[in-house]
């Protein structure tokens, strides 16, 4: 049965000439799982908000939205709130109350249900989401992933017919994101819940969806079964960039249908595409010549936040050479951000020594350390912004030297920028002190593929200009593209360190999708680019061999 019918939906924001949405129509059946994709500013979030009456932006709208055969306009406030669930991006800010159980009950309290009903529904939901263990805890003690699961559960407790999610995993680490998506898939499968999800990292969510809707500048590009849409979109470079790695590789290699969407299918695709007479690419030459000069040294560093708590860093040793880019990877709570904070003299260590450019941290007096020596880009760049416009924010910064043109953004309020733009402004801001060593904490968190590539390019240029970079990240693909060396932090210690190729080929789980896809077929292919190059080389070799056989 048709659940949701959207007909000719158009929307214009006040004082805007272009339509944010232009004649969008689609139909969803009961139990459909639809992914909405598109570049930043293509109208994804606007579309989602239009479907939730309470959150619909103010402006000029035309078209019809029908849910379960009735126009959404005709719903009472109560029905509208109950039938359509909405989960937003930031896990922290969506939570209203102080305890987990109270948060679960919040929506039902609003509907005015009596205690007995609320008790039963809350118990049922806590059971389904397996949150009994933290049922009575204060919400401030939960991890980001738990918070987002709580947000989902407290929407599901209202028993919606349609669930809308606006980039729910953008602020989560990869493991929590994957957990969240599998919970969604389970809800969809077990309860035949209709789901519409807006995402820009599509690796996890495309394989569990059955429909894909793509938007470009407010216009519908395609809406249909996932595989057909993926095949249709292969030539759209902007959208392909956001697709799962196997799709990107196959698209790049010119495949025109049945594009692989999972690692398993990608694996079969590469094996069928070419042989493996050339198994690996040559290791890039080490560009640093002469004796490497250490920019940052950790020796036997121990850190804990208070006497009663366990060590966060326990005997960490690490050397970063001048001019190189080192990525520190590791799970949640492995001490990555703490290590970075220790290097920036924000977190105090209780044993060991940290040297910056050969000088111990405690020998730096006053602001000497932050003046032309070292700066840190925090994980949440919003914690830096103080002024009302980007221009004021960047008044000390040398905009000409920054490898990206920020002039179009200068008159905007920093909070009005997209995540990627905020990150770039933050970066320009920290560079105004002209540091030689730049520390970055999760620079690509919550960014779409295009913004990630942009950040990556900017960082490459900065490094080429002689800057030393230390990047803490969960993003294995970023590390593979960016780093000269990668280091794995586990329980406060560096357990392995090497060039991306050595590092990721040595790991079998904690590695890039491209590497998982080609493991055993190729050696040391870690980025989508590597795989594409190897496939082309091998295909050419296969052709040459075949021609050789014919000519004999």
């Amino acid at each position: 049965m048709e659940t949701l019918v959207v007909e000719g939906l158009s929307f214009t924001y006040p004082a805007c000439r272009e339509k944010a949405l232009d004649n969008v129509s689609f139909t969803l059946h009961n139990g459909d799982f639809m992914v909405v994709c598109g570049a930043t500013g293509s109208g994804k979030s606007t579309l989602l908000r239009m479907l939730k009456r309470e959150l619909a932006p103010f402006g000029e709208m035309s078209g019809r939205i029908m849910l379960g055969g009735r126009s959404v306009e005709d719903f009472s406030d109560r029905e509208a709130a109950q039938k359509i669930g909405y989960v937003l991006q930031r896990p922290e800010q969506q939570i209203v109350t102080d305890r987990v159980w109270h948060e679960l009950a919040f929506g039902l309290e609003n509907l005015g249900l009596d205690t007995g009903v609320i008790r039963r529904r809350v118990a049922e939901m806590a059971c389904y989401f397996d949150i009994e263990d933290w049922f009575e805890r204060p919400v401030s003690e939960l991890s980001g992933g738990q918070k987002q699961l709580l947000n989902l559960a407290s929407v599901m407790v209202m028993q919606p017919e349609l669930l809308l999610l606006d980039e729910p995993t953008a602020q989560l680490d990869p493991i929590a994101a994957s957990d969240f998506i599998s919970t969604l898939a389970r809800l969809n499968r077990d309860l035949s819940l209709t789901v519409i999800i807006v995402e820009h990292r599509l690796d996890e969510v495309i394989p569990v969806s059955n429909k894909l809707l793509a938007l470009e500048e407010g216009k519908l590009l395609t809406c249909g079964p996932t595989r057909e849409s993926v095949d249709l979109l292969r030539s759209n470079l902007l959208l392909r960039e956001a697709m799962p790695v196997p799709v990107r590789i196959a698209g790049e290699l010119g495949a025109d249908r049945d594009l692989p969407i999972t690692v398993r299918e990608g694996r079969r695709f590469t094996e069928e595409f070419c042989g493996n007479s050339i198994r690996s690419l040559p290791e890039p030459e080490n560009v640093l010549d002469g004796e490497p000069e250490p920019a940052l040294e950790f020796s036997e560093v121990y850190q804990r936040y208070s006497r009663e708590l366990p060590d966060v860093l326990s005997g960490m040793n690490l050397t970063v050479n001048t001019g190189e880019c080192l990525c520190i990877l590791g799970g949640n709570g492995s001490g990555k951000s703490t290590a970075l904070g220790a290097a920036a003299a924000i977190n105090k260590i209780y044993s060991g020594a940290i040297k910056v450019f050969g000088k111990k941290l405690r020998d730096y007096r006053g602001q000497e350390l932050y003046d032309g020596c070292l700066t840190m880009l925090p994980q949440d760049v919003q914690t830096m912004f103080l002024c009302n416009t980007v221009r004021e924010e960047l008044k000390d910064a040398d905009l000409d030297a920054f490898p990206y043109d920020l002039t179009p953004l200068l008159d905007k309020h920093p909070y009005d920028l997209s995540g990627g733009q905020q990150q770039l402004v933050g970066l320009a801001r920290v560079l105004s002190a002209k540091p030689r060593l730049l520390l970055l904490d999760e620079p690509t968190k919550g960014l779409d593929a295009r913004a990630r590539r942009l950040i990556c390019e900017v960082l490459h240029k900065l490094q080429a200009g002689g800057m030393t970079l230390v990047v803490v990240t969960h993003d294995t693909e970023l590390a593979a593209m960016l780093a000269d060396r990668c280091a794995m932090l586990f329980r406060g210690e560096i357990v392995s360190c090497g060039t991306p190729r050595q590092f990721f080929s040595g790991n079998s789980f904690y590695t890039t999708p491209a590497n998982r896809m080609t493991r055993g077929h190729f050696d040391g292919a870690v980025t989508a680019g590597d795989v594409v190059v190897l496939c082309r080389l091998n295909a050419a070799a296969d052709r040459n061999r075949r021609e050789g056989e014919y000519s004999c």
Binding site: K52, E54, L55, D77, R78, A81, Q82, G85, Y86, L88, R90, E92, Q93, Q94, I95, V96, T97, D98, W101, H102, A105, F106, G107, L108, E109, N110, L111, G112, L113, D114, T115, I118, R119, V122, E136, P138, S140, N151, S154, M158, G341, A344, I346, G366, Q367, Y370, D371, T375, M376, P378, D380, Q382, T383, M384, F385, L386, Y415, V430, A433, L439
Partner: protein
């Protein structure tokens, strides 16, 4: 097995009121003695250790002995210090007042351990659901803000903007952090508001849910508390609990005095007795396993 702190918070809060208010307002040596015995016993049974009591022990004697040295009223002179008489009445008054103060401190020590923020919230919430929601949101914002303050502090420090070596710069740093925090709070408050409207906030009359039930055992405990308190207050109203220290100690005595004091004994020892009997019952049940 249900421990005393697992009763409905309203029952527990009423019991505390029933036991603390008489201890504070009826100055009677016997009643104060019962209050201090009850409160210290409850604390000891609950924590199962004698540590952390020394400071209160010292405080008890310090307050008690202070009175006779400054106040010389009373007819029974014990001895003289610098030609000032130290009287038995002043000494006993000191002990009674001190016992009252220390016992109230002990009642509140166990009160704050038993009545966690969510239980207190429930007590207020049953008076007004709106107030309860506001308090709950406030409790949620305290840890959220302190975490954000730390983040802002750290990022400003790493920018080299945060000089702590002189007072004016340090103050300017604080002002900057506060200003960033306000912008952040306003901006992110929009998300919270969206999340509230999306879940139907304001569509109609709200109910108030809590995980606490009012069970049969709560009704029994509440009834017992009210009956005992009634007997005690009846005694007080009938002047059966009058006691004066100066110039000589005189107290009224009637059968009602005995009834009131017996009622307060039962009231003050209620959780302790409850605890001990529950433990015995639990051990007996376990022995059958």
């Amino acid at each position: 097995m249900k421990s005393f702190s697992e009763y409905n918070p309203i029952t527990v809060a009423l019991w505390y009121a029933a036991v603390i208010l008489p201890a504070m307002f009826i100055l009677h040596p016997a009643l104060t003695a019962l209050s201090i015995v009850g409160s210290v016993l409850l604390h000891t049974v609950r924590t199962k250790s004698l540590r952390g009591n020394l400071i209160y022990f010292i405080l008890f004697f310090a307050i008690a002995l202070l009175n006779p040295f400054f106040y010389h009223n009373g007819v029974t002179i014990l001895f003289f210090v610098n030609d000032n008489p130290i009287t038995l009445e002043a000494l006993l008054y000191g002990f009674t007042a001190s016992a009252m103060i220390i016992s109230v401190i002990y009642w509140f020590r166990s009160f704050s351990a038993m009545m966690t923020s969510d239980r207190l919230l429930y007590v207020f919430g049953s008076a007004s659901p709106k107030l309860a929601l506001i308090l709950s949101m406030a409790l949620r914002y305290v840890p959220l803000f302190s975490l954000q303050i730390k983040k802002v502090n750290d990022s400003q420090k790493a920018l080299g903007l945060y000089r702590e070596d002189n007072a004016i710069d340090a103050l300017r740093g604080r002002v900057r952090v506060f200003s960033i925090l306000v912008t952040w709070a306003l901006e992110n408050g929009v998300t919270t508001a969206d999340s509230m409207t999306a879940r139907g906030y304001g569509v109609g009359r709200r109910t108030y849910f809590s995980i606490y039930r009012f069970t049969r055992s709560d009704r029994i405990l509440l009834a017992v508390t009210l009956i005992l308190e009634g007997l005690l207050l009846a005694g007080a109203a009938l002047d059966a609990l009058k006691f004066s220290f100066y110039p000589a100690m005189t107290g009224t005595w009637s059968p009602m005095t005995a009834v009131s004091l017996a009622a307060y004994t039962a009231l003050a020892l209620l959780p302790t007795i409850h605890r001990v009997t529950e433990e015995f019952a639990w051990k007996r049940l376990l022995s059958r396993v």
